[in-house]
């Protein structure tokens, strides 16, 4: 147990290999890795709750929590968690025991499982599956089932209705997400997250910005954030499918939502922003010390928090959409657009760019994306030329006529 | 090392449970769930034979993926039919849907 070697392996983010070389069993090293990942994620959520409240408050020109734990309210989430822990766990009469109790557990499990394939630093990834992105999509699909469990197990009509709406939204927005994700997979020629990060000499958000936009919107809807948060808005359906949960079980749903948002930010960073890459900084070696992984981890964290800030920003800014607007937007706009985008990128990549270097490829694909986006907007504008959009109901026109008649 | 016969026995057991469900249940939705069990058993058989006999060729996997796709389509259409029948006859019990009998 050489202390210097241990410290060096910690700085180089190589603890697993050091432990293996010392002689620890493989399964103990795996267990340490799994527990580190799960613990770090959950502790980070506490910080994220504070961050969200402060940022939204500042955007709304107020201060936010500033009483608990000093001037900045740093211990506010701790007091929130203590409050939730101390509440009584009330089970509604007639509730189905097994689904009711299984739902909060399953939703946290599903939110944590997806973190296994996110590369946080060069060489530091839970498991480098050759179908990494597909694994993430499958687990996100499974987590949709937990809403039904929660809604049915509560023995409450409103919970059931909220669960149906939540499931409809989640299942609908998976389609453009999957099709938009196919574009970077196509460009990187692999479904493995590590391969996608390594293939981003130029980050994919610059090469295929339209695909990044579609994925971002679908991710907003998948995690249930504003503007797609009618699942749990107090003014819509009184907290939706988790009405009947109190105390720690409600905290599980809360935790799962924040974990999901953090995961979507990390996923976006890995797929579109180049993961831990930053102009070769992740390969830096100073003398004997291979400091690249640590710098890569810092770069990755910065990018993730930037994207998370954009999530919070959108929540503080945009109003909520109605449920029929939500589904219209998905099926009549996002799905056709993502399909056309995939087709265009595939054709351009195969036919015209088979033997071009990276910069030419990136430039041509970016121009293609912008052209597709511009053509879409022109089509929408042309359809709207007489004020007949498909989404706004006739109520507004009738109201105008009624007012004009007086 | 798991012998191939274990997987095949497991698939056969799943298939017979599904067979019992299809023949013995009253509710049509339950019959459809048992049909899904049958299709899953078949898929396990296909993948077992792929893995043990021809892992370098993609025939077994491709066939299994097609079975998956057909099962999904059949479940969707079957459930749509059940919902439509429920609207018209107000019952989904298979024994009571006997308008065409005699």
């Amino acid at each position: 147990m050489d202390i210097m070697e241990l410290l060096r392996s910690l700085i180089e983010l190589n603890l697993g290999e050091y432990l293996l070389s010392v002689g620890t069993a493989t399964w103990i090293v795996d267990l340490i890795g799994v527990m580190t990942l799960a613990t770090v994620c959950m502790i980070l959520v506490i910080f994220l709750i504070w961050l969200e409240r402060k940022v939204i408050a500042r955007m709304q020109d107020r201060i936010g929590p500033n009483r608990v734990g000093g001037k900045y309210g740093l211990l506010q989430p701790v007091s929130d968690a203590t409050k939730l822990l101390s509440k009584e766990l009330i089970t509604p009469a007639g509730a189905d025991r097994i689904p009711y109790n299984l739902a909060p557990i399953l939703i946290v499990v599903a939110s944590l499982l997806t973190w296994a394939v996110i590369p946080v630093a060069p060489g530091v990834v839970g498991v480098d599956l050759n179908i990494g992105v597909f694994y993430i999509l499958a687990i996100s699909s499974v987590s949709v089932v937990t809403f039904l469990l929660a809604g049915w197990g509560s023995n409450n009509k409103y919970a059931l209705l909220g669960a149906f709406r939540a499931v409809a939204q989640m299942v609908s927005y998976e389609v453009p997400m999957i099709v938009a994700l196919l574009v970077p997979i196509l460009l990187a020629r692999s479904m493995s997250t590590v391969d996608i990060v390594e293939a981003q000499g130029i980050p994919f958000i610059i090469v295929v910005p339209l695909s990044a936009l579609i994925f971002f919107i679908s991710a907003l809807a998948e995690t249930g954030r504003t503007p797609f948060d009618l699942l749990e808005a107090d003014s819509e359906i009184v907290a939706g499918f988790h009405i009947e949960y109190s105390g720690m079980k409600f905290a599980m749903f809360f935790l799962a939502e924040f974990l999901g948002t953090l995961f979507m930010s990390a996923f976006f960073v890995v797929i579109y922003l180049g993961g831990y890459r930053f102009f070769g900084l992740e390969n830096l070696t100073i003398g004997h010390l291979h400091i690249g992984p640590l710098l890569g981890f810092i770069v990755f964290s910065t990018k993730v928090f930037l994207v998370y800030f954009v999530f919070i920003w959108i929540r503080a800014t945009l109003p909520r959409v109605r449920v029929d607007q939500l589904l219209d937007f998905n099926w009549k706009f996002l799905v056709p657009l993502s399909l056309v985008l995939l087709l265009t990128v595939a054709v351009m990549d195969k036919l015209f760019l088979a033997d071009a270097n990276a910069v030419t490829k990136a430039a041509v694909l970016m121009v293609t994306n912008i052209v597709v986006g511009w053509v879409t907007i022109e089509i929408l504008r042309w359809r709207d030329r007489d004020g007949e959009t498909a989404v706004v109901p006739d109520v507004v026109d009738d109201a105008h006529e009624a007012v004009a008649a007086h | 090392m798991i012998p191939m016969s274990w997987y095949l026995l497991f698939a056969a057991a799943l298939f017979s449970i599904g067979l019992y469900g299809v023949m013995a249940r009253r509710n049509t939705v339950a019959i459809l769930m048992s049909v899904e069990l049958l299709l899953n058993a078949v898929n396990i058989n296909l993948v077992t034979f792929w893995r043990y006999l021809t892992p370098d060729r993609s025939v077994g996997m491709a066939w299994a993926v097609f079975v998956l796709a057909v099962a999904a389509a059949e479940a969707a259409v079957g459930l749509a039919l059940i919902i439509s029948v429920y609207r018209n006859r107000d019952s989904v019990v298979a024994e009571e849907l006997d308008v065409l009998r005699n």
Partner: protein
């Protein structure tokens, strides 16, 4: 040794869930047990080295078909549905048939299993070169678009899925009152 214990455990749990599916009166519990069965089958696919198919199973069966079944259960239940009997009049005969079928197949597998050295590879899982298994996803993808392989069934399957999509939406649409008049 560990693999065998793991396989037996997963197989027994999956068969237990399957039994709950075919015997439980409460349809919602049966649907939940069906999801458990699908999860068990996905784990079996992983032990067989078909990771892609396992993820596809999770995505399609648990993420879509199970939800569809639960929606259909919700939409087709009476207000008091707990008193319905689960089995119809031919339950005893079908139990006998299913058990007889399983016993016949198990007998064939166990007693007529080949034991000659040439077929010894069927007795244990041949350690396949991991590169072949890694490459299986790529080989699958190429087989779906290669004209010498399965591009035609692939295209036919996509048309079939489109037909199923449009057809099921049309069949399940509620008729408007004016149509019935």
């Amino acid at each position: 040794m560990f693999e065998q214990v793991f396989f037996i455990f997963v197989a027994v749990v999956t068969l237990g869930f399957a039994l709950i599916v075919v015997t439980n009166k409460n349809l919602f519990h049966a649907a939940l047990a069906l999801m458990g069965t699908f999860l068990g089958v996905a784990i079996i696919y992983v032990t067989l080295g078909a990771g892609f198919l396992a993820m596809a199973q999770l995505l399609v069966y648990i993420g879509a078909i199970s939800i569809l079944i639960i929606f259909a259960i919700m939409m087709t239940r009476h207000m008091m549905s707990a008193e319905e009997a689960a089995f119809n009049s031919q339950a005893g005969l079908s139990l006998f048939t299913a058990v007889a079928f399983f016993v016949l197949v198990a007998y064939v597998f166990i007693s007529y299993w080949p034991t000659t050295p040439a077929d010894a590879m069927l007795a244990t899982m041949t350690p396949v070169d991991p590169a072949i298994l890694e490459n299986s996803v790529v080989a699958l993808g190429q087989s779906f678009v290669s004209p010498n392989a399965y591009v035609l069934p692939f295209e036919v399957a996509s048309v079939m899925l489109l037909a199923a999509l449009v057809g099921s939406i049309f069949i399940a649409k509620p008729r408007l009152k004016e149509d019935e008049a």
